[in-house]
């Protein structure tokens, strides 16, 4: 099952003048998660981040932690979840997001292989720093997986350049100093971090962490290439919103982005 490769697809969309919307959900967080993935794809997502549950998610706030706990309790394993994903028919790329130990324990080659089999073409490992990238990065790229790296508000300019150099798919601009989770206000740092990245790469720059509402998404996509919405969606699913709720929320985000900031 061949799906478009992450970077190719996103570059193309951006070249078409489209602002990117990348929702995140946790594999196995609810029984209907696979249908949610399909629904999100149909409702206007440009790519979907699939969280693979890990017991000790240090970059995640309470909502995504709860989703991981729920997935693990339901018996979800990272490899099992990937196997389930491979059955889906999607027109957009998928990006796996998990912690490095999952990849390390599986073995780089094996992990990359499973991603490929699942039709996943990007990987975000938030605790795999630039310093430790060697090894995984080469294996991933060789397998056809784009390793997406993160730039934080605290990252200095030189370091940002180095990260951009080694990121693929897109550059993940961390919108605020903090873990994943919904915020009522967009952080002021969002603008700065995107401005810092822009001159250093021609990759799409997408903002995640703290982008919680359609208005936030519209605001950030006014200067960034895309918005990543995680906790806000995950919470709706944990609350029982189901496929319909997820699709409705993603549609709102899509419209807000397409209309631009108020």
């Amino acid at each position: 099952m061949i799906r478009p490769r992450l970077e190719t697809h996103l570059r193309a969309q951006v070249a078409n003048g489209r602002k990117l919307l990348i929702p995140y959900l946790m594999a196995g967080q609810c029984p209907e998660w696979l249908q949610v993935v399909e629904g999100l794809a149909a409702a206007g997502a440009d790519a979907i981040e699939i969280g693979l549950p890990f017991s000790d998610p240090i970059m995640d706030g309470p909502v995504i932690q709860a989703a991981a706990v729920s997935a693990l309790h339901a018996g979800t394993t990272p490899m099992g979840a990937l196997a389930e994903l491979s059955a889906l028919n999607l027109e957009i790329p998928l990006v796996a997001m998990t912690y490095y130990n999952v990849a390390y324990r599986a073995g780089h080659e094996r992990f990359a292989g499973r991603l490929v089999e699942a039709g996943v073409s990007g990987a975000i490992l938030p605790d795999l720093s630039l310093e430790e990238l060697d090894g995984w990065s080469e294996v991933a790229l060789a397998a056809g997986i784009d390793p997406v790296l993160l730039v934080a508000p605290a990252t200095g300019v030189e370091r940002t350049a180095a990260i951009c150099q080694r990121s693929h798919g897109f550059v993940y601009a961390v919108g605020t100093m903090g873990v994943t989770g919904e915020r009522t206000e967009l952080a002021t740092s969002v603008h700065e971090v995107v401005d810092k990245i822009r001159p250093l790469t021609d990759l799409p720059v997408c903002v995640g962490v703290g982008v919680s509402t359609p208005a936030h998404a519209a605001t950030v996509t006014a200067f960034a290439d895309g918005a990543i919405v995680g906790s806000a969606l995950v919470r709706r699913l944990l609350d029982g919103g189901g496929v319909a709720g997820a699709v409705e929320f993603i549609s709102q985000l899509r419209s807000a982005i397409d209309e631009g900031p108020a």
Binding site: F54, S55, D56, P57, I58, M59, D60, G61, P62, Q65, V69, L72, T77, P78, M79, Y99, Y100, N101, V102, A103, Y104, R105, A106, P126, D127, L128, S129, L130, E131, E132, L149, L150, V151, A152, P153, A154, T155, G156, R159, I163, V174, T176, M177, G178, V179
Partner: protein
């Protein structure tokens, strides 16, 4: 990753001890890790910092702690047993050495706040203490289960002016307290230092904490040599994260002494773990086939940790140190034996190391050997628990 040559020398510039260590931290924390590394290198090269560190540990912390020879127990075991008495350091364990170092560094970096994780509360109390001394704000993350089991230690930290934050995620114990402290650090890193409690976490923590703890190894080397005219045949320490062991091992790494780390049987990362990445480091970790972390279980909260400091994984790898484990029952026996025969109630953690010595005397430890045990802390924090356990076993009224 280049392998380092001197056992217990500096790790590589990237924080590697052989194939363990590194810096597996979210990008939001990486600048702080780099800043910390630079600050530590700078401070550690500065005689004025050393002088202040040592002066505080002397005048406030009670260093040097003595080395005590256990005459009655030695006699019974057929060995010559010496204890390095970290139980006499302020706050009751070796943890004070590390927190004084990190608190001074916090000030030097111009930060005004410290956060810390704690299991039973020992590192939390030590951190709160150092923060009080230096006028820093302090928040301690502690699993909710532990805040209930150790309500008095919560109160102690609060008396010292710290805020105790109960952690309700995961198993609500130490591992989750580390997670939560790291998460908090991500958002408060600009004015906050994360005072990690053992030789774990991303570089430079494992190295820095060992360096702060090495004062006890240096002291012990001098004291034991004065007493014995030689280094001891064995140097034994309990290993949770591994800071007290690293501290004492570092004093004897270049000597002929056998170095023995003793883990809790239910948290034996070296013998039952596999290489993995947790809390910012690559080391031996208790995990399942999917890489999910397995919870450790021990009678001793301070050893209830599913990982081990990367340097220990390396020392095991190269064979410079050997790691054994001890089970709850023999640990209780050891604690009672030392209390009755030598008038020293050990903490449950070093009672693991003693349990191994008692078991190994006349076997792995040849009769007549000299053995230095790092008495990493006092048992006062544990007596309520020990009493309950003995009551449950029908061994105490």
């Amino acid at each position: 990753m280049t392998t380092i040559n001197t056992p217990m020398g500096e790790p590589t510039a990237e924080g590697w001890f052989g194939s363990f260590g590194g810096r597996y931290a979210p990008e939001s924390l990486m600048p702080a890790c780099l800043e910390l590394e630079a600050a530590f290198r700078d401070a550690w090269a500065d005689p004025a910092f050393h002088a202040e560190f040592e002066s505080v540990l002397h005048h406030f912390g009670g260093r040097p702690t003595p080395v005590t020879e256990c005459l009655r127990l030695s006699n019974q075991l057929g060995i010559r047993l010496l204890l390095k008495r970290e139980d006499l350091a302020h706050t009751g364990s070796h943890k004070i050495n590390n927190v004084i170092g990190q608190a001074l560094l916090t000030k030097r970096m111009g930060k005004t706040k410290m956060i810390a994780e704690t299991g039973a509360g020992q590192h939390g109390v030590a951190s709160a203490t150092a923060a009080a001394l230096l006028g820093l704000e302090c928040t301690v993350y502690m699993g909710e289960v532990d805040t209930q089991r150790q309500a008095l230690n919560v109160f102690r930290m609060e008396l010292l002016g710290a805020t105790v934050h109960p952690v309700t995620s995961g198993s609500r114990t130490l591992k989750d307290a580390v997670n939560e402290a790291m998460r908090t650090w991500v958002s408060e890193v600009h004015d906050t230092h994360y005072c990690l409690g053992s030789v774990m976490g991303p570089h430079p923590f494992p190295w820095m904490v060992r360096e702060f703890q090495s004062i006890l190894g240096r002291e012990a080397r001098g004291q034991v040599t004065d007493l014995l005219g030689d280094v001891p045949d064995f140097v034994v320490a309990c290993v949770g994260g591994g800071s007290n062991a690293a501290g004492i091992f570092s004093g004897f790494a270049d000597a002929r002494s056998a170095l023995i780390g003793v883990e809790a049987a239910g948290g034996a990362a070296i013998s039952t773990g596999t290489p993995g990445v947790l809390h910012g480091m690559k080391s031996q970790i208790l995990q399942d086939d999917d890489g999910q972390i397995i919870e450790a279980h021990s009678i001793s909260a301070g050893l209830d940790y599913p990982g081990i400091g990367p340097e220990h994984a390396h020392l095991a790898d190269i064979g410079r140190a050997t790691y054994a484990s001890a089970g709850d029952d023999e640990v209780l026996d050891a604690l009672q034996m030392l209390s009755k025969m030598e008038g020293i109630i050990p903490a449950l953690e070093p009672a693991h190391a003693l349990a191994w010595i008692i078991r190994a005397a006349g076997k792995e430890i040849p009769l007549g050997s000299t053995v230095l045990l790092n008495m990493s802390g006092r048992g006062d924090k544990d007596v309520a628990q020990v009493r309950e356990v003995l009551q449950a076993k029908g061994l105490y009224r």
